[in-house]
Symmetry: C3
Subunit: 159 residues, 3 copies
């Protein structure tokens, strides 16, 4: 039987949506499905390496943008439930109570299991990110390259 | 001709997004397409039975969470247009003017028409929901089971 | 080889999500892929012609709604980063720095390249929009017609 392929486009920069994407990616790999994630717009925040922030070779806007926005999985906000800021803390506590791993663990799982990480070139350029600011698995590519790959996959989601 | 299959993942807990999902589900059933909806994260709020809220066997966080969050279709907020809270009322009035049925009618339609309702086990566990707090059609399953089914569908959407 | 088909459902009424949808649509057309976009709910704002707003034959709610909501691509807000309102200005400046075209250019590109524009009849009726308030390419259709088309496409996204 031919190998199945799952293709995710992560547009959102939120903890809960990134969690959904990475749970699907990890589960699919366990089913021996090929998985690619194309990170675009706010989705790029997830694959920033928090240790590798630079301001070199950036415009004033790009520097400000890089400083103001989340650096890696732990800094992502929730999409909902930000009741006076307790939402994310509460969700994390509830996850811990059930021994559900945090986002960073699913990210590391995806890296180990061979999920393909692609970043949208246009978004990277506009936001002023440099290749070395991302985790090493990230490969920068055009939207067209993503589309060619996604069109031949069995399943595509925009998250 | 082989029967077509539509697979929706409802992640969002908002009135308008749930409405979009259920309109698609009902329309697809009228075209004799098989339909499954996998409810995850905030999407679970839609399939809570408002009469069946319990605090038994729940941690303090799970109790608080269950109380603070929407119980069933009528309590879901809008994703947009919450101008001073008039957004949802206004949309509901406008729907009534055009004889468009409310969300609860589309939910009942989907139940009658044999849409499959699946709930994400990890989300259910983390949020502390019990099987009996959901409408009776809901079957709790792992993300892997959802993925196997979705990968063999003709169309998948993340809503 | 049979021609591939991409089918997008644009539900969101935000600048960044509309940009993502139109970048995909334009890129797909450059790969000679057939593209349809089904505009539903807040997604309809993108295909409003800003010059053609009318209050004729509308209920009071429909008039208010038409006035309060974005008229065409330039008025769409950002989905994120609305830090004290500077988010969108900043993004637009950053796009200009990189010579990335604004949303309106991608919309015009999609019109020229033959992307099919469909509008959800139920949403149009509820919001009270008239055919002549949209850009001329827009064809109003039922959710079922969209579904039949989408089910036979190679790729579908809900944005």
């Amino acid at each position: 039987m031919e190998k199945k392929k799952l293709n995710l486009l992560l547009f959102s920069g939120e903890y809960d949506k990134a969690l959904a994407a990475l749970i699907l990616a990890n589960s699919a790999r366990e089913l021996e499905v090929d998985v690619s994630i194309f990170f675009a717009f706010w989705g790029l925040f997830l694959v920033r390496d928090p240790e590798k922030f630079t301001t070199e070779d950036k415009s004033m806007y790009e520097k400000m943008f890089g400083m103001m926005t989340p650096k890696g999985p732990n800094e992502l906000p929730l999409s909902k439930m930000n009741f006076a800021g307790i939402g994310k803390e509460m969700l994390l506590e509830m996850m811990e109570e059930d021994d559900a791993p945090p986002l960073i663990a699913f990210l590391k799982g995806a890296q180990k299991k061979g999920v393909k990480f692609c970043a949208c070139k246009l978004s990277v350029d506009v936001m002023g990110f440099k290749q070395e600011e991302f985790i090493p698995e990230v490969k920068i590519m055009e939207a067209k390259e993503y589309l060619s790959d996604a069109l031949s996959s069995n399943m595509q989601l925009f998250i």
